[in-house]
Each structure stands twice: as C-alpha cells, then as structure tokens.
C-alpha cells in the first residue's frame, strides 16, 4: 500500500511529479475534496507538481492542468476534471427532478470512464447510491461482481468485508457478492486466495452496484496473510466445507502425474477411500453412493476413468471444488453424506488463450476466450489417453496383448451476458471409457451432461438462478467368446432436472435462500441381448424404473449480533416411484423370497407407486468470540432415494443403481457437528477442530451370494443396514507463504448393523460391524515450498489405519480343493497404510509478456516404495499350506514427468 495514503491531517499538499491517482488521495485525505477524472484521457500519464492549501487547491490545480487541455470545476466538496470545457455549475432550480438526473448516473458516468465500468483503483472514492439523498445514516446494500483484472473471469470465494462494524460477504460461484453497509464513508476490503488484496474507498449514499476487478498475485508482493478461506471460515455459519482451488490441485503429486480433481478430495480430513485406484470416496462414514457429485449442476454417476485410476474431470477446465461434509445447505438434497461441487471456469473474457499438456498416459488440450468481447465467452477442453502401450507390455501369451483401453472426456461451456443483470450459461460434459481385451469381450461406460442456466439480478436485494439439464450415465458389456452365450448387457440412468434458487437479502440481519428442485429419473436396470444367430441368450429387458423427486426449501441466515448468527434451513422433499410397474408384496417381517409373496400389484403408467416424503432440517449457529476465534454447531438431516448396489469393496464399473420403490425404502441420515475455528500467528495459520456424530438408516447391503446385475427381484438379495459414525477432525492450514499447505488428523469410527432379521443370513449375527472404509486414525499432510516463483517442491504424506477385511479362519478340503471358512464380516484389518509423494514444479518462463508459458513437473509417487496392502487373499491352489498374500497396487516408487504449455 502506498505510504501516501497514510499522510493525514495535513493542511497543505506539497507534491512533486505525482500521478493524478495519488493526488486524488492526497486531496481527499488532506482537504476532504474528492477529485473525479476521466480515465480514458491522457491525464493518467501526466506528472503533476503542486503546492497549495485547501482554499487555493482548485485554482492551483486548474493552473497546472489547463495547459494540458483540462478544465477543473469545484462543486461542493467535489472537483471534476474534464477534457475541454468545464461543467456548467448552476443548474436551474429543480433541474434534477425534472430531468430525472441522478448523481447515481453520474457515478455510472464516472464508472464508464473507468475501463469497462469496473472499479479497480484503490485511490479513488466510489460513490454508491444517490448522493442527493438527504442523510448519511442507516444502511444500504452494495452488490456486484468481482472479476479477475487480467482475464475478466469471475472470482469465486473472495471475501468482501468492512472492518467497522464487522460485516462480510463472500462471492458466489458467479463472482457475485452482496453486502449491507452503513451509509457514509467505508473502506471495503477484498481478499481472495492467490489474489492481491484490495481496499476500496466508498462513499455510501444508498443501495448501489459496484463491480470490482482484482489482480492475480504476481509473486513479487509480500503483504497479505489472510486468505479467503480463513476469513470465510470464521465469518460464516457454514461448517464442514472444504474448498480447494485448482492451482493447489495442480501442485499435488499424483500417480502418473495427472493433476487429479478427485484425488485431492482424499487429502481432506474426514474423507477416506478403501484403497488407491478405487473410484469412490467416503465422507465421514458415509457410503460411496451417498455423495452427490455435481459438475456444473449436472450429477455425475461415475466420475472416474480407467476404473478409478483418474478422475474424469479435466483439471485445466476446473476452477475449484467444494466439499460439504456437514451443514449441507438446504439447496442441496438427494444424498445423505456429502455434496462435492466441481465448478468449471467461465473462460477468459479478454483474449483467446489455452493450454496443452502431455503426461505418461494422457494428452490434453484446452482453449478459452471471448466470442463477443465482454459478452460471450467460451471454454472447451478435451483429454484423451494413449494407454494402449500398457496393454502392449503384457506378456505375449497373456491373450491381452491385442487389447485396447481408451478414454476421453470433453468439457465445454459458454457464458453469455445478456445485459448487466442477466447471464446465460450453457455447459456440456461427456466422458467415455472403452475397453476391449481381446476380440471377444468389450466394455464401456459413459457420462453425458448438459445444462442451461439463467442467472438474473431481480433487484439489488434479490437474485435468481434457474437451471435445467439432462444427466446420463450408462455402461455396456458384451462377450461374444461363446457363440451360444454371446450377449451384451446395458445399464442406464437418465435424469432431467430443474432447479430454481433465489437469494434475497432482506436487510443486514436476514439473508434468505429459497427455491425448488425437481428431478425426473429413468433408470434402465438392465437389458440382456443376444449377439449373433447362434446365441441362445433370452433377450431380457428389466422394466424401466421411473421416479420423481421434488423439494422446496427455505433457509434464513440470521445475524443476531455481530458475534452470533444462525442459519435455519428447511427442505421438504417428496419422492415417488412411478408406474408402469408390477411388483410383489411380501409378508412383513419375513425374509423376502418367492415363499413370502403375499400379493402382486400392478401400477399403471404415470401413477404413483409409493410416495415417500418428509422434512429435512439444516440448522447451524456461529458464535465469534473475536476476529480470530469462532465456535459453530449444527444439525442436518438428509434423504436419499437412489441406491448403489455393490458387493465389491471398491466402486466397480458394473455396480448397479436402484431407485426406491414399494419394497426399497429411501435412505435417511442425520448428522450433528460442532467446530472450533481459529487463526494464529497473525492470521498466517488457520486451525480448526470439528467433531461429528452421524446416523444412517436403510443403507442397502447385499446378502451372501447376492446377484446384483440383471436381477428383477433385487429386493430379495439386499438387506437394510443402519450405520453410525463419529469422529473428530483436526486441521492446521497455512494457505499462503513460501511454505504452504495443510495437515489434517482424523479419528473416526464407522459401524454398520443389519436391521431386518433374515433367518440364517444375518450379517455378523445382527451385531455392529465396521464398515470396509472404517480407518480410525488418519493423518494427511499436503505441503508446498516455493523456493522461487519458478521453482517449488511439493510433498504429500498419507497415513491411515488399515481397513477392515474379512479373512479366512479355517481351511477344509471340499470338492477336490481347499476351501476357506471366513471370519465375521470385516473382523480383521490389513496393515496400516503409509505413502509419501514428492514433486518438483518448474516454470521456466515466468515472464508475463511471453506468449507461452510452460511448466514441467517431475515427481515420484510413493517415494518410500512401501508395499501398502490393497487387499489380502489366500491362494488355495498352491499346496496343502494355505498361503496368505497381499496385493499392493503401487508397490514401488513411480516416477513421472508431465509437460504443460499455456498460451
């Protein structure tokens, strides 16, 4: 911050060769005179020397500027500098009223004189509202967008606040903020991660709009210590929210060097996975299907490539990710554990830019820029693999040498600004994985999402977002190896959604969020189709399942005092499966089987099969002891109507999904949590401690010997399970500085228990048993050290207790082979997990003026080469002694190199 600003209470200005913007400050601070000037003139380049007192200042200024072709006009405490002729000072009486001229518009005028009407100067005073308003008392509401000065992209998660009285807001996914301010002179402060802090001087007369441009931090300044996240953590009632920006993701070492949007989620406290290379993740004891994964509003059912090795999102397109672990906002619903929101970027609004990169397995490319400058932007990215060489490395006689594995994904987005109040967004996403291992067997799955979103500012207090879209996921396997059995099997989920979300800032105490969500599901649980004329496979198409889910919600963020605020949310959801469908009724209390059928019911097309509805509560409270310490507590309950059925530990690509119906009850869950958040060491370090207790009901587990694919009576093969989980998460975070990163320790337990009595097949005799992702101790470190702006190193450490497994307790010889008698489910644990990764990031060309920027990343995944157990199993074919083995997926250090180029 220039020291000039500090010069206060001086009655005289003595300035030698200063720029006009410095003079503006001096004039304001010393004399209380505000200078307005037009930016598109050459006044910026003038170096002014002046020495005067308050009374002589306007005249002296005019003397300096007139030779340059400017006029100086004093109006009250305002000085207007215009090119050419001055302003007519004396308007006829009542002129303003008659012409409806408002000084508000003169603000617009002065704004339009700024580049593109966006505030970016710390040395100007921005007038908000009508300066002719009689009194500077009471409150006004300021709203607008925060954008990147370089690219014009909206900046998300920027803290916008004033310090006295303590009032804050955070920009949303569109860079939009809205903050109530006391009228009068205010210093509006903006802080965002990776951005230069800004302090804007405002003169607030009434409600108004102000768009603000922030500069990306170029690593020469060394001033800011606060990050958006820390400010946000302390000020909002939101709890259990983790935000990660993409630049962080790109610096974290990953297997094969692929910057991975999903894998970063696993480094956050409270998030676990059953093992490397598995697609799913578990949040605070929830199952993998209890996470709602949203990519630009669309629901993604299979967010991975190559069976879970990579996430299916292109890191060049993604802006940030947000993971809600508790106090899930009322606008989200449909899953009971967490919400993972992935936002893509809007694209550069100023010029066409892009990037390209190659790694060991993938090549990628992205392009972005304006179609119509400052109005319509696009961003498009594509990724593909050339992983066939891995199959080529298989032994000659393995039969897979001629196999192929391919995936690609395409993300595209267009944003169009209709006017200053309305914006349209069009997003599309497509990913496909295909495999062919020999000429006989092929396999593929794909995601397809498209959505249209309209965002509108109804007025300064009120805005809306309406989105509608289509989500699709399907997979298909086919095997033509045996002519008689040749088949192909298909599975698909399709959904159409409509979401309307309103934000309404009633006053400085109440901010309301309300809206409607509606989803129509169509799930094709399976179709088996013969291939070829010889095939005897009976074509079998399971009846499509249809359902609708609608919810209304309302939440009020209520700031009772500066220190104490509440967030009260209520969501009411109504779900029903729809006909046409024929289903069985079973004798209550009996295991469901052919024998316990009591009735067969047929429901006509479009008719409700069985509605399930109920309220969901989302409540949280915050108490801020001071600027550096706050306490939060919350409760939320959730409902889930779609279930994933799996009998494997990891998410498998052939896992099937099932909608709730007459026999399958929706899952429900609730969580209560508390959190303590603090800043230490001059706000350089953020500390947080969160604890939770959670219950889950009607989670579907499979019976022994269950058949989950192509099963029309799947309710007979699954059992309802209850779960409970509790834990405590401790996190230390240093978001900025040479050394930055976080360390998180979690202690947690997750237990499951079969609820419905089922003779003989009661899992673990109906007792509680640990879930397969129950890993009590968990320590994660993500660290990055910047030696220079061109050279940084990153280190990951990941330690956790081994996951529970079912192991054999005894062997017996049966059917000409050794067979194993297994323990109770998940009665034993595999050895503890430990992994350390290391990466060096080099950016050889860091000059802003260069056309292209390249980055090289060298790294080693699993630096210590520890052979972490993924699973343990027993070979029953090797002799009389049954030998146990452990399978390690990345059992050695894996070096990698990637090269990315930005243009």
């Amino acid at each position: 911050m220039p020291s000039l600003v500090r010069a206060q209470q001086i009655e005289r200005i003595v300035a030698n060769k200063i720029h006009i913007d410095s003079l503006v400050i001096l004039s304001n601070r010393n004399f209380g005179l505000k200078i307005y000037y037009q930016e598109n003139t050459n006044i910026d380049s003038l170096k002014l020397s002046i020495s005067s007192t308050k009374t002589s200042f306007p005249g002296d200024l005019e003397n300096v500027l007139r030779p340059e072709g400017f006029s100086v006009t004093l109006l009250g405490d305002n000085i207007f500098i215009l090119q050419g002729k001055g302003i007519v000072k004396d308007f006829p009486e009542g002129y303003f009223e008659r012409s409806n001229y408002k000084l508000n518009e003169s603000l617009d005028l002065s704004k339009s004189s700024l580049s593109e009407g966006v505030a970016k100067s710390e040395n100007k005073i921005y007038k908000i509202g009508d300066p002719n308003a009689p009194k500077k008392t009471g409150r006004a509401i300021l709203s607008g967008y925060v954008k990147d000065l370089g690219t014009g992209e909206p900046l998300i998660g920027v803290a916008v606040f004033i310090e006295n009285p303590n009032t804050s807001a955070t920009t949303d996914a569109y860079g939009f903020y809205r903050i109530p301010l006391p009228k009068g002179e205010q210093n509006l402060i903006l802080k965002g991660y990776g951005l230069e802090d800004a302090k804007l001087m405002l003169d607030v007369y009434g409600d108004g709009q102000l768009d603000i441009a922030l500069k990306e931090k170029i690593y020469s300044l060394k001033s800011v210590v606060l990050s958006a996240e820390s400010t946000h953590n302390l000020r909002s009632t939101q709890m259990g929210l983790e935000k990660v920006r993409i630049d962080r993701i790109k610096h974290v070492p990953a297997a094969f060097g692929e910057a991975d949007v999903m894998k970063i989620v696993l480094t956050l406290p409270g998030v676990k996975t059953v093992g490397e290379a598995s697609g799913g993740f578990n949040v605070r004891g929830g199952a993998t299907d209890q996470n709602l994964i949203l990519f630009n509003e669309g629901t993604i059912y299979n967010p991975t490539h190559l069976f879970g090795l990579f996430s299916a999102f292109n890191a060049d397109i993604v802006n940030d990710i947000e993971l809600y672990k508790s106090t899930i906002p009322a606008r989200y619903g449909g899953r009971i554990s967490s919400v993972l929101e992935i936002n893509s970027r809007d694209g550069n609004s100023k010029k066409i830019t892009g990037s390209a990169g190659i790694g060991l397995l993938t090549g990628k490319f992205h392009l972005e820029g304006p179609i119509i400058k400052n109005k319509t932007n696009f961003i498009i990215g594509a990724r593909t693999t050339y992983s066939d060489w891995i199959l080529g490395m298989l032994p000659e006689n393995s039969g897979y040498k001629n196999g192929t594995a391919a995936f690609h994904d395409i993300t595209a987005g267009i944003s169009h600004k209709i006017d200053s109040k309305n914006t349209l967004y069009l997003n599309a996403y497509y990913s496909k994985d295909g495999f062919k291992f020999n000429t006989d067997t092929s396999y593929y799955y794909q995601n397809l999402n498209a959505s249209l979103k309209w965002r509108s500012l109804i007025n300064e207090h009120h805005n809306l977002v309406i989105s509608a879209g289509y989500d699709h996921y399907n997979y298909k396997t086919s095997d033509v190896g045996n002519a008689v059995n040749a088949y192909s099997m298909n599975f698909a989920i399709k959904q159409i959604f409509l979401k309307a979300n309103f934000n309404w800032l009633i006053n400085e105490k109440h901010s309301i969020n309300y809206g409607l969500n509606s989803v129509f599901y169509q799930l094709n649980p399976g179709s088996l189709i013969p291939i070829g004329e010889e095939s005897l496979v009976i074509p079998k198409i399971l009846t499509a399942e249809r359902a609708t889910e609608s919810a209304l919600y309302l939440s009020d963020n209520w700031s009772i005092t500066d220190k104490f605020s509440l967030d009260l949310g209520l969501r009411y959801s109504y779900y029903t499966a729809l006909g046409e469908k024929t289903y069985y009724k079973y004798f209550p209390g009996e295991p469901r089987s052919e024998l316990s059928i009591t009735d067969t019911v047929t429901v006509g097309a479009g008719k409700f099969i069985k509605p399930y509805h109920g309220p969901e509560f989302r409540i949280s409270a915050r108490y801020a002891f001071n600027n550096d310490l706050s306490f939060k507590i919350g409760y939320n309950s959730m409902r889930q109507n779609i279930h994933m059925l799996s009998n494997t530990t990891a998410i498998s690509p052939t896992d099937t999904w099932k909608l709730s119906d007459a026999n399958i009850v929706p899952q429900s869950g609730w969580q209560t949590a508390f959190g303590l958040y603090g800043n230490a060491f001059g706000q350089r370090i953020e500390l947080s401690l969160e604890g939770y207790y959670k219950e889950m009901h009607n989670y579907l587990d499979y019976k022994s010997g269950a058949i989950l694919n192509m099963n029309e009576h799947i309710e007979r093969d699954v059992v309802e399970t209850n779960g409970r989980a509790y834990g405590i998460e401790f996190m230390v975070k240093k978001p900025l500085g040479k050394l930055n990163g976080w360390m998180a320790y979690t202690y947690s337990k997750t237990m499951l228990k079969q609820t419905v009595k089922d003779e003989g097949a009661l899992i673990n005799k109906g007792d509680w048993y640990p879930a397969s992702y129950d890993k009590p101790h968990d320590l994660k470190i993500i660290a990055n050290y910047k030696f220079t702006q061109r050279f940084s190193v990153s280190l990951n450490v990941d330690y956790s207790t081994g996951r529970p497994v079912t192991i054999p307790l005894s062997k017996y010889y049966y059917g000409n082979g050794y067979r194993l008698f297994y323990s109770d489910r998940n009665a034993y644990r595999i050895p503890d997990y430990f992994r350390m990764d290391f990466a060096i990031n080099i950016e050889p060309s860091h000059n802003l003026k260069l056309l292209t920027h390249s980055t090289i990343t060298l790294g080693v995944y699993n630096l210590t080469g520890r052979k972490n157990a993924y699973s343990i199993y027993y070979d029953t074919n090797s002799g009389t002694k049954i030998q146990g083995y452990k399978l390690s997926i990345f059992g050695a250090p894996i070096p990698y190199i990637t090269y990315n180029i930005k243009f």
Binding site: P653, G705, Y813, Y828
Partner: protein, 387 residues
C-alpha cells in the same frame, strides 16, 4: 459380466506395472479348527461316498483331518435307512452306502453321528436327474498355443438349468529317450532291464478336477450348455504329449445347491482383486441336531449322475511342443573318467551301455525315466497296447 470383471482385474494388474503380490501372514487373531465338514452327494446310480472331516488351521500341512468311526447313513423321507460302512485306504477314510436303485421320486437326507455322540443331518433333498452329456470336445488355439476341453449338454425338457461337473483325467506319456538299462546304486552296476514290461519309457498319470465347474442356463432360451470350459493346457503340458483321456461326471443341481457351489467358487477363485466380491458367508444344508449353534460345513445334494469319457491324441490336439533339453554325457570320455555313482548322484541316468568299448551314455534322469512324472499303472480302459 463375470468375465468382464476378470478382464478388468487383468487390466488393472497390467496397469500396475509396479503392483505386486507378496506373501503375507496376518497376525493377532485366532484361527479356528475342528469345524465339522461333511462332503458327498447321494447318488441313485452310483454308490454314495461320504467324507466326514474336521477343518484345519490354514498353515496345517495335512489335507484333511478325517473322522473315523462315525455312524453315517442315508435316510429316505419315509424313514428307510441306507447305512454306510467305513472304508479306509491308506490315511483316507470314507463312508460308502449302497444307494444304487433308490426311488428317484422320494426325498433323502444324510445323517451322521460322530464318535463324540453329536448328531448331524442334512435337509431332505429331492433327487435331480442329470441329462446325458452330449459331447466333450476340444479346441486348439494354434496362435496362443493353448488347448481347451469343453463339455456340451442340453435338457430337451428345459427343466435342469443348474449343472455341475467334475472330471478325472488320465494321460499316457513317454520319456524322451528310450533306455533298456538301469543303474543299481547299491551294486553300482549297470544292468539291462530284464523285461520290456518294466520299461521306463511308457508311463501314465492321473488327476482329478480341482476347480468348481458349475453353470446355470436360466438366462438362455433353451436349457443348453455349449462349450463349458473344463480344462485348459499349454503347449508344454505333458498331458497332451501322447494320449489324453478325460472322464466327465455331470450332476444336476437344485437352485440352492447351485448357489452354494457358486458362492464356494467365488470365495475360492475370485478373491483379492480390486473388483473382487468380498467373501460371502456359506450357508449349507447340514445342521447339528444336538447343538443348533454349531457351524457345519457342506451341502448335500441327491441325483442321478451321467458320465462320459473322451480321448484325444497328441496328433489330434496338435499343439504339443517340447524342446527336451536332454544333453547326453559319456563319463568315460572325461579325463579322468567320471564315476557312474557320481553321474547318478548328480541326477543322471543311464541311456545306453557298451561294455565292449567301455563307453556308457547318460542323460538327465527326467529324460530317461518316465516314472519321474508318473507311474507304470496303466488304466484298464486304455485303448492301446503300450506297456
């Protein structure tokens, strides 16, 4: 779908070039032993053979812990008992009941009373009649040098649906070199083999199926099994070096029986992979009457079994290839000459001997003596006159 998962597993394995499997012994838990295991199926066209044993700890080196002296019988739904008698062969103990000619329209159960006085019995099960085996065939993949034997069957009345197979295989093979001499390590003399009958050239061996082979045809429009793989061999496999024979026994199962064997198969074959199902609990159809809490392992079925034998010669199969690294040495040609006993002790055996020129030819014993890989016990049904 099963196949797809296997392939996925293979791909993942391939991807994990650094992925690895290492021996592992979990610690800190108690293994179980002495769970009662009852194995065997009631047959209406064969003798019923029942094995009663107890389970063992995983690292126990014995195969079975047989229970001797149990009382075992098959009982019909009308209460007619068909007692089994204990037959001991070496260390093996089994109980054999003559159940040939049982009325296939009745239900039967198996009952066991162990020497410690505990009584066990299976559920009453129906007799399921297996259709005939249509054919056994093989397909040679000359590209990948692999031969696979398949079974084909069908049920014209579309009733069977669940099938299980087991097989015994016999094969004839020869040593690479014919030797009419043998070395006696006691007398340290080379003698001519007195009788051609004792040649060390032709040998036989046998084995039984170890994998669980079962399938269902419920997803097919007709009850037909086409090319169910039984056994697969590579080009170096001695079993296809001369004459190979496989006798397949086909058993039809109930739905519960099929589920039991399928679960057993998955628990045995499909474990440890990334997408492997977790092991499932096994629920058999045998319970302890005297202690309802006791875990009993096994599933008893009843049925009429069908069998078929099939022969295939090396020439028909056509993929057998063995480079036979059979280097011969003449110990007398060394200076000083190597003693015969030294040759014998280092794993060589005599191929030919010419006392007149004081010259003997030796080769690795595996090239000379077929008994290294088998026996001289020629099966009675063997179709050629080799001895």
């Amino acid at each position: 779908m099963k196949v797809a998962k296997l392939y996925i597993y293979m791909l993942i394995s391939a991807l994990m070039i650094n992925g690895c499997v290492t021996p592992f012994e979990p610690e800190g838990y108690d293994q179980l032993e002495n769970l009662l295991v009852i194995e065997g199926d009631i047959s209406t066209n064969e003798q019923t053979e029942i094995i009663v044993s107890r389970s063992l700890k995983l690292n126990d080196i014995s195969k079975r812990n047989y229970i001797k002296g149990a009382v075992v019988w098959v009982e019909s739904e009308l209460g007619v008992k068909y007692p089994a008698s204990q037959v001991t062969t070496g260390t093996d103990v089994k109980y054999v009941a003559n159940t040939i000619g049982l009325d296939v329209s009745k239900k039967y159960k198996l009952c066991v009373t162990t020497p410690d006085g505990k009584a066990y019995e299976s559920d009453l099960v129906s007799v399921i009649i297996s259709p005939d085996i249509d054919s056994i065939e093989f397909v040679s993949d000359t590209t990948n040098k692999r031969v696979t034997f398949y079974v084909n069957t069908h049920d014209g009345s579309n009733k069977t649906h669940y099938y299980k197979w087991s097989y015994t295989e016999d094969w004839e093979f020869t040593s690479h070199l014919y030797s009419s001499f043998e070395y006696n390590p006691i007398t340290m003399q080379i003698t001519e083999i007195p009788s051609y009958q004792k040649n060390r050239y032709y040998c036989w061996n046998k084995d039984v199926s170890k994998k669980i082979i079962a399938t269902s045809t419920t997803h097919l429009s007709s009850d037909r099994v086409y090319r169910m793989p039984l056994v697969s061999m590579e080009s170096l496999d001695l079993r296809i070096s001369a004459l190979y024979s496989i006798e397949v026994k086909q058993r039809a199962l109930s739905r519960e029986g099929f589920q039991y064997w399928e679960t057993l198969r998955k628990n045995s074959d499909q474990v440890g992979g990334i997408f492997s199902p977790q092991p499932s609990e096994m629920k058999g159809n045998i319970k302890c009457i005297t202690d309802s809490e006791e875990t009993v392992l096994g599933f008893i079925s009843a049925g009429y079994v069908t069998k078929k034998r099939f022969f295939a010669s090396k020439e028909e199969i056509g993929i057998y290839y063995n480079p036979h690294v059979c280097e011969t040495l003449i110990p007398e040609s060394f200076t000083p000459p190597v003693a015969w006993s030294t040759m014998f002790d280092t794993g060589y055996d005599i191929v030919s001997n010419s006392p007149s020129v004081r010259e003997s030819v030796w080769a690795p014993v595996a090239c000379v003596d077929c008994r290294i890989f088998g026996t001289k016990n020629k099966p009675s049904f063997w179709p050629n006159d080799h001895i």
